[in-house]
């Protein structure tokens, strides 16, 4: 049932090659797993503060193996947001970089492995966890949102299998980790390769760092995955001039890539005999829902593709009626075994059973062409992507209200616009929100207006903001 069940047959395979040159075998995980099991109680809640390092990876796998339920968090999550989450979810364990141990004084150290430590906490307040619950992702990681997505063991396995199938992943693959493992897309790359006995090239470095490219070359990476912003960086890095004969596959998800880049990468890969997959997904569906088959990368550039193996899409209109005709825009609905169990907003929700029954209303507006390929045309949920980070606009407003009680956030991917009424605060607002979210200040701009338009019941009228 779980991701790690097949590991025994891969004992002699390399599980990971690290950027310090170290090699970890699948058998190394078995050794870790036994030690970790001895220190953890099954069906308890944990925080996993993630980095792309062996210790972070093994901790995650150890929890899945022992049925400890991790909330996957960025190790760089801002300190106050971290504390708030801790108070809401009162985990029994925290697996974290050892240099962060001092920040959780109530914890007792029970186990250390390499640069990570396992802390345990008083579990007298712990609440029951639903037996199917495998892990939890944040809906808006960088704002420290307490709203989590509940992922089951079946979700993890079915999505990993579907991805491995349409990408033809086998044990000879060597993907390099360009995305964090607390991010559903990043974790899906890990899971879909480990179930096939492949070798991860494990690094915490970004494509803008020398160490990343050294590992990519020395480890002979076969695939590279990124969000739209990654591909903009690759373009700037003269990726099209690089000689990377082993790199056979590029995959892109995490938001819509500008058509100019889509065309460039599709054409380049076509010429060079490489594969380029544009894909679509959401954390609410574990990760992946759609992919554009490589052979259509050029002809259907701009499309998010078709449903993954085992999945199905349809579109609905405002009356929730199914749209039959092509080229008509409606809300995209997905059905598949990877659709999550639902959300959790607090500790009591962790006992809840599956609320979605395999159907996800994506909140994305899309159309389908006559040949069955889907195209995203808009989004009707209040979130945007900032350099690959999903950011909830309402939660951003809540954070900002500590500083500027009157504010409203809108925006498009990679550019949030914050409306305020206090002109002296412009610079403070940008520094504050950038500091809280850890996202580059260039992602935010501030506009000062006289008043935030609201309806009589006090709700912000976002559509009117642009007219101010």
């Amino acid at each position: 049932m779980v991701i790690i069940n097949g590991f025994n047959q891969y004992s002699n395979n390399k599980l990971a090659i690290c950027d310090d040159g170290r090699i970890l075998y699948y058998s190394d995980f078995n050794v870790f797993d036994n030690q970790f099991k001895a220190k953890t109680k099954t069906r308890s809640l944990a925080f996993c503060f993630c980095k792309n390092t062996p210790a972070s990876l093994f901790g995650y796998l150890g929890m899945i193996s022992n049925k400890v339920v991790p909330i996957m968090l960025d190790a760089k999550l801002e300190a106050q947001l971290r504390t708030t989450l801790f108070e809401i979810y009162t985990p029994t364990y925290i697996w974290l970089p050892s240099d962060m141990v001092g920040e959780f004084k109530a914890g007792t150290e029970v186990f250390s492995w390499e640069s990570y430590t396992l802390l345990t906490f008083d579990s007298s307040n712990s609440k029951p966890l639903h037996p199917d619950l495998a892990l939890l992702f944040a809906t808006s990681g960088s704002t420290g949102s307490p709203k989590l997505v509940r992922i089951s063991y079946e979700n993890l396995l079915s999505n990993a299998n579907s991805i491995a199938e349409y990408l033809s992943i086998d044990e000879n693959e060597r993907p390099i980790t360009a995305l964090p493992m607390n991010y559903s897309f990043g974790l899906s790359i890990i899971n879909s390769h480990l179930i096939k006995g492949a070798t991860l090239l494990l690094t915490d470095k970004s494509v803008m760092e020398k160490g990343f490219w050294e590992l990519l070359k020395s480890g002979k990476a076969t695939s590279l995955s990124g969000v739209p912003y990654t591909f903009e960086m690759l373009s700037m890095l003269r990726f099209f001039k690089m000689e990377l004969p082993h790199l056979k596959t590029l995959t892109q998800a995490g938001g819509k890539l500008n058509l100019k880049y889509t065309n460039e990468f599709a054409a380049f890969c076509h010429t060079m005999g490489k594969r380029f997959f544009v894909m679509y997904g959401q954390t609410e569906a574990t990760a992946r829902m759609a992919y554009l088959p490589n052979e259509y990368a050029v002809a259907k550039a701009g499309s998010m593709g078709i449903a993954i193996p085992g999945g199905e899409f349809w579109l609905i209109d405002h009356q929730k009626q199914i749209i039959q005709e092509p080229e008509v825009v409606g809300e995209l609905v997905y059905r598949g075994k990877n659709v999550s169990m639902g959300y959790a907003e607090g500790i009591n929700d962790l006992a809840k059973a599956d609320e979605n029954n395999g159907i996800l209303y994506t909140g994305d507006m899309a159309k389908r062409d006559a040949e069955g390929f889907y195209y995203i045309v808009g989004r009707n949920k209040r979130f945007i992507k900032l350099f690959g980070n999903r950011v909830n606009l309402d939660e951003t407003e809540q954070i900002l209200k500590n500083m500027v009680p009157e504010c409203a956030c809108v925006g498009v991917d990679d550019q949030m616009v914050i409306y305020i009424t206090e002109p002296t605060q412009t610079e403070n607002v940008i520094n504050y929100i950038s500091g809280k979210t850890g996202i580059n200040p260039k992602a935010f701009s501030v506009k000062c207006i006289d008043t935030i338009p609201k309806n009589p019941s006090g709700k912000t009228l976002y559509a009117q903001l642009a007219n101010q």
Partner: protein
Amino acid sequence: MDTIQKYKEVFINHLQVTEDQLSTLTYQSVSTWDSVGHMGLMANLEDAFDIMLDTDDIIDFSSYVKGKEILAKYDVKL
């Protein structure tokens, strides 16, 4: 404007730092100089000096000081 002043101002304006921070400024030492900031910094330097940086130089450009060495290769005398 002399070249060193131009070099400094690209950092000061793009990374929102002060002149006294420059000599010790390295990649990821300030929140504005992450991978996103790095891409913009490189683009601004290319525009300011009318050069086209090679991949190896972009990923090797790890500090304010190191950047001076790199730009020297493009005949930018700082």
